[in-house]
């Protein structure tokens, strides 16, 4: 299990290759990548991601553990960035490895839902005129009920 919380950009392709090549018994690797997107009305200059150092890694590890107890996974990778990111930048990724694809897909979906609502990250969207924190969303909370 690999949990990385970092400011620096990462090479998604290299991460996926490393993760995949380390799996001897897996028949499936599923990956998800989150990208900073512009606001619907445009104008996003950058996004600022704040986190709770020390606790963030712990929370992500706990979520990954939950995934491993619920699905037969061979390995899990979670990378989440913080700091200033501009539209188009990769903000995070998860990868799951399993013998069969169903477990890998479901676990990746579960990880994303929980990371969105239960990991201590906060996002601030900065435009030329505004700087707004993104609040918790009801839809994200409801997504947890699926599990």
């Amino acid at each position: 299990m690999h949990i990385l919380v970092q400011q620096a950009a990462f090479d998604m392709g290299a991460q996926v290759n490393d993760f995949t090549s380390a799996q001897d018994a897996s028949g499936a690797v599923v990956t998800f990548t989150g990208i900073v997107r512009d606001l619907p009305q445009g104008g996003l200059q950058h996004m600022l991601i704040e986190h709770y150092p020390g606790m963030t890694e712990k929370a992500l590890t706990e979520i990954a553990h939950q995934a491993r107890t619920r699905w037969a996974l061979d390995d899990v990778l979670v990378i989440h960035r913080y700091g200033m990111l501009i539209p188009g930048e990769t903000i995070m990724m998860v990868a799951t490895a399993s013998a069969h694809r169903k477990n890998a897909f479901e676990a990746a979906d579960f990880l994303m839902d929980y990371l969105k609502s239960r990991a201590p990250f906060w996002k601030k969207e900065i435009t030329s005129a505004t700087a707004d924190w993104v609040g918790a969303k009801q839809a994200d909370e409801q997504a947890l009920n699926r599990w």
Binding site: E50, Y52, M55, W122, K124, W133, G135, A136, Q138
Partner: protein, 58 residues
């Protein structure tokens, strides 16, 4: 007890953390007390639906 504030809560209160006397009661009770303190706390806790709280025993 120590309270850490993040994001807009930190910005509106103007503090990253503060020490409070240990207390019994719920988190909701604590927030109501803080809200009643000063306008900046009331502003920080105006929308409780967007607030997330974690209790950590150390």
């Amino acid at each position: 007890m120590k309270i850490l504030y993040f994001a807009w809560v930190r910005e509106r209160i103007g503090l990253p953390s503060e020490e409070l006397e240990n207390r019994s009661g719920t988190v909701r009770d604590l927030i109501e007390d803080l809200r009643a303190r000063e306008e900046r706390y009331a502003a920080a806790f105006a929308d409780l639906s967007a607030l997330r709280v974690q209790l950590i025993n150390s």
